[in-house]
Amino acid sequence: MTLGDEEVLATLRDRFVVGWHNIWRERWVGESHGYSRAQSAVGTTNGAGGRNMQIFVLSPDLVVLHALPGFWHPKDFLHELHFAQGLAAVWADPNLNRAQKDRLFRTVQRAEVGFHGEETVARSGWQHFDAHAERARLRQGARDTFAIPVCAGDGDAAIDAAQLKPINVLVHERMAEQPFVPFAEFDVEALVDYGRPFYDNNMGRDHGVKLPKPPPKRSYRHWL
């Protein structure tokens, strides 16, 4: 749904070079139920399935300008693409030194969420199973996913009442920690480490329905 929007496609076609990579071998990958392109799809929240999909915006010299984990609503994705174009201009600016560029990167990543509208925030809520998993992880130790710092010693009531940050806020905060990092060195795990690794938002729709089994992963390339 993210990439099928006409305005998204036009923006990608006119302003970006695009590429696709299957990450099934990568260590940070979660699990998938093998959705086919002929299977129904449901809408979801920004950042859902962050371990199964990441969208990077890279400079031509392969520096990470921005990264979005998981699905994003087309309107929010467009906004983030325009934001990344601004960072591309910063990275390419010959009048700035590296320290200035890094400071700008951190600053604008943090400031950007202030420009997100109520609709974006509403679309950036947590899926219930991810929220549940994250709260369970908070019982094991501090997490950056909560708006107000809470630790295990604060007790169950404090943990149950702790407010999760919207995903759009979390993503920009985490991106601020990796300014202009070369793609080969970018810490994907640090970006996608939220919720649970298993993701299947379509279960309520397709459970019990026999779907064609996906081919063994080794044969994916022959499909192209």
Partner: protein, 105 residues
């Protein structure tokens, strides 16, 4: 600081620097953002909820995937994408996904 080439980033940076000094902790979600999650569902929240309940039929999914696959020149190798990006002076959108664009995901 030198003049930036991108007005949008310059504006963001200026506002960000005024709002909190360099090196300060991230501001975190605004009260408005937290209010969204704690008060009665707003129109935006209801719209977001409706979106999560929306279903795209298999036929439409196939059509959407085909459109996304056909409308763009998808590079399979990062080096090739980088070469094109340098030639065209554009950034790269590099999608990493568990599965294939035209197949299972």
């Amino acid at each position: 600081m030198k003049t930036l080439t991108c007005p949008r980033v310059a504006l963001l940076a200026a506002i960000g620097l005024l709002a909190f000094p360099l090196g300060a902790q991230p501001p975190g979600p605004t009260p408005r953002m937290l209010a969204c999650a704690t008060s009665e569902p707003s129109e935006a929240a209801r719209a977001a909820d409706a979106f999560t309940r929306s279903v795209l039929r298999g036929v439409e999914v196939a059509r959407t995937v085909r459109r996304a696959a056909d409308a763009l020149r998808w590079h399979r190798k990062l080096e090739d994408a980088a070469r094109t990006a340098r030639a065209e002076g554009k950034p790269i959108v590099w999608v990493q996904a568990l599965g294939e664009l035209r197949g299972y995901t």
